[in-house]
């Protein structure tokens, strides 16, 4: 089914919400209100939204520490997410998970993960559950280019291929794994080629084009639902900020960042909606205003939320 104008506006709204959410969280981090480390997905909103809009809420998903946007796009309550970042008991994990462990099984979110590569193994099990139960749910795992050098990642690809699991391995190739260019750490030009060697379908897509991401993911999802097995998607993308807040970024040039920034999906997508899809400037303006107001509400909720009580440290150990 082609996307309606309403769908397109919802996609834009979510992309913008993610951007504003991450910007607000960056402020909190700089103020010392978010502890630990924080890995913004600024610049990678189109993959989060294009990928997640191809999923249903009952589909399963795992992602990484850079997964705030993907979690929101999958349906995580943004207030709970922000409260979690601030360590409050109203957070999605009651303050026990933090930035790198957003989890909500009610929307199929089986966790961000702070261990590079681990989520690819876990999604296979979720997809196997769906297959054993005879449902047409699929599993999608987001990970970075760097994760494709992990042993467990290759094990996961192989298991999904031999069991023909309904899984989408969604690689966000943002050219760097932390501070290391992926081209220095992989001998082949294409990461998708490596996945193809396991005997699965592959696709490469422009990760700055939410509609291309959506179409590519949807094709993989439909194949998986129909029993056609796993797909590896390599989405070429770029983070417009450092690996984590505080990254001095000596490993890339200002020119390279500027080149990608000129294609910033948060700027380009609404222009395209106006130019190609009959959306009015007013409609875009209304979304911008609505998101700005929503962010204030999210922030207020998170900041006013109570802290966990000391006794809660011992809770949630056992089912």
């Amino acid at each position: 089914m082609p996307l309606t104008q309403d769908d397109l506006l919802r996609m834009y709204r979510m992309m913008l919400l993610i951007r504003r959410f991450e910007e607000r969280a960056t402020q909190y981090f700089m103020n010392g209100q978010i502890r630990g480390s924080f890995h913004p997905c600024i610049g990678q909103e189109a993959t989060a939204v294009g990928g997640c809009f191809a999923l249903r809420q009952d589909d399963y998903m795992t992602c990484t520490y850079r997964g705030h946007g993907q979690s929101l796009a999958k349906g995580l309550d943004a207030k709970e997410a922000m409260a979690e970042l601030l360590g409050r008991r109203t957070g999605c994990s009651k303050g026990k998970g933090g930035s790198m462990h957003f989890t909500d099984p009610r929307i199929g979110l089986l966790g961000e993960n702070a261990i590079v590569g681990a989520g690819a193994a876990i999604i296979n099990g979720a997809a196997l559950t769906a297959r054993l139960d005879g449902t047409d749910q699929v599993g999608l795992t987001f990970f970075g280019d760097g994760a494709t050098n992990q042993g467990v990642f290759f094990e996961a690809l192989n298991l999904a291929a031999i069991w023909q699991l309904p899984v989408i391995f969604f690689c966000e190739n943002n050219l760097y794994s932390e501070m290391t260019p992926i081209r220095d750490m992989v001998r082949t030009d294409s990461l998708a080629d490596r996945a193809g060697a396991f005997g699965m379908a592959t696709a490469v897509v422009d990760g700055y084009d939410p509609l291309a991401v959506y179409d590519t993911t949807l094709a993989a999802v439909e194949r998986a639902r129909a029993g056609g097995g796993p797909t590896f998607i390599e989405a070429m993308t770029y983070r417009l900020v450092g690996h984590m807040v505080g990254d001095s970024e000596p490993y890339r040039t200002k020119e390279e960042v500027a080149e990608w920034r000129a294609r910033d999906p948060i700027v380009m997508f609404p222009r395209r909606l106006v130019a190609e899809f009959g959306v009015s400037e007013q409609q875009i303006g209304a979304i911008d205003a609505a998101v700005a107001a929503e962010i204030e509400e999210i922030a207020r909720f998170a900041e006013q939320s109570p802290w966990p009580e000391p006794h809660e440290a011992a809770e949630d150990m056992w089912a």
Binding site: Y60, T62, G91, C92, S93, K94, G95, K96, G97, H101, T103, D104, P105, R106, L110, G111, N113, I115, A118, A120, A121, I122, I123, N124, G125, A126, A127, L128, T129, A130, L132, D133, G139, G151, V152, E155, A156, N158, L159, I162, E315, D316, M317, W318, A319
Partner: protein, 324 residues
């Protein structure tokens, strides 16, 4: 009274569990047609089919990770690791994923999975196939840790493990598989966290677990000929730990020996010694003694392995040292 082997007892628990609960799925290497290298799952493929008795590639991180995902989405995977030593290959999925998922999600997910494997030495398998790891699992919060010593306990504890909503590390011992013991025909389950007094006594409390319980019982028998009455407590689970059973016995005997096959250094004996001196210091009439494997990798040659792994004589020496 019906007697079966430890391996049969494990198989019976799996068979009964799978018959009642269609969500129980076995996964592991060579567990299907061959029935696992120790033949524990023999016949289960024929009975339950390849969807529920799933053969995997040699890919421990990959399939333990898949089990975590299955458990989080409503299945009850039972993983067989061929040797506990291979745990390390999958250790991220065990320690960072399975054990932490529930807590990290603020209680929103549960991870009802069992990892079964066999551990221990005594067969000359060498350093990478003979280790004992219960201490490691006990140290990291988030897993129940079970080590049956008898066929009766193996079946009853595994039945409980198959109904447990948290990750369970179910540790068998390779040299227990062929031991025989009474296992009733009728259904039963043994709760976690309840130690079993395998022999009553009044002079010394001897706490043990897994195969070392058999040596403890032999040592207790021999000590009784010297007029020393030894109470043998089989922990059966280290998480949860039945500390009350230990304290109760120590208050009676005033003497404590802890014996296990894992390395002595920081073994479960160290933890129990610490807990007992905290909570029953006034009852102790002698220093607490610990028996465990020498702190070297487990050697292959019989003469060396016999020195490194604790047996009856090591336990007897410890008993004599604290009663004299």
């Amino acid at each position: 009274m019906r007697e079966i082997t430890y391996a049969q007892a494990v198989r019976e628990a799996l068979t009964e569990g799978m018959t009642h609960d269609p969500n129980i799925i076995l996964i592991g290497e060579d567990i299907g047609l061959y029935g696992g290298v120790f033949k524990v799952t023999e016949g289960l493929l024929a009975k339950f089919g390849p969807e529920r008795v799933r053969e995997t590639p040699i890919s421990e991180a990959g399939f333990v990770g898949a089990a975590v995902g299955m458990a989080m989405t409503g299945k009850r995977p039972v993983v067989e690791l061929m040797f506990m030593d291979f745990l390390w290959v999958a250790s991220d999925q065990v320690f960072n994923q399975a054990a932490k998922m529930r807590y990290m999600s603020g209680g929103r997910v549960k991870v009802p999975m069992v990892i079964r494997s066999q551990q221990g030495g005594g067969r000359g398998n060498g350093a990478q196939h003979s280790q004992s790891f219960e201490t490691i699992f006990t140290h990291i919060p988030g897993m129940k840790v079970v080590l049956p010593a008898t066929p009766y306990d193996a079946k009853g504890l595994l039945k409980t493990a198959l109904r447990e909503d948290n990750p369970v590390i179910f540790i068998e011992h390779k040299l227990l598989y062929n031991t025989r013991g009474h296992v009733p025909e009728e259904d039963y389950a043994i709760p976690f966290g309840v130690a079993d007094i395998k022999r009553e006594g009044s002079d010394v409390t001897l706490v043990s677990l897994s195969r070392t319980v058999l040596f403890a019982l032999e040592a207790a028998e021999e000590a009784s000929r010297d007029g020393v009455s030894v109470e043998v407590i089989d922990l059966r689970t280290t998480v949860p730990l039945d500390l009350e059973a230990i304290l109760k016995s120590v208050r009676k005997t005033g003497r404590l020996v802890i014996a296990h096959e894992a390395h002595r250094r920081l073994g479960i004996g160290a933890e129990i010694a610490a807990l007992v001196q905290e909570q029953a210091f006034d009852y102790l009439d002698a220093p607490i003694a610990r028996v465990g494997a020498m702190d070297v990798p487990i050697p292959a040659s019989k003469t060396l392995e016999d020195v490194v792994l604790p047996g009856k004589s090591h336990i007897l020496d410890a008993i004599r040292a604290i009663v004299s």
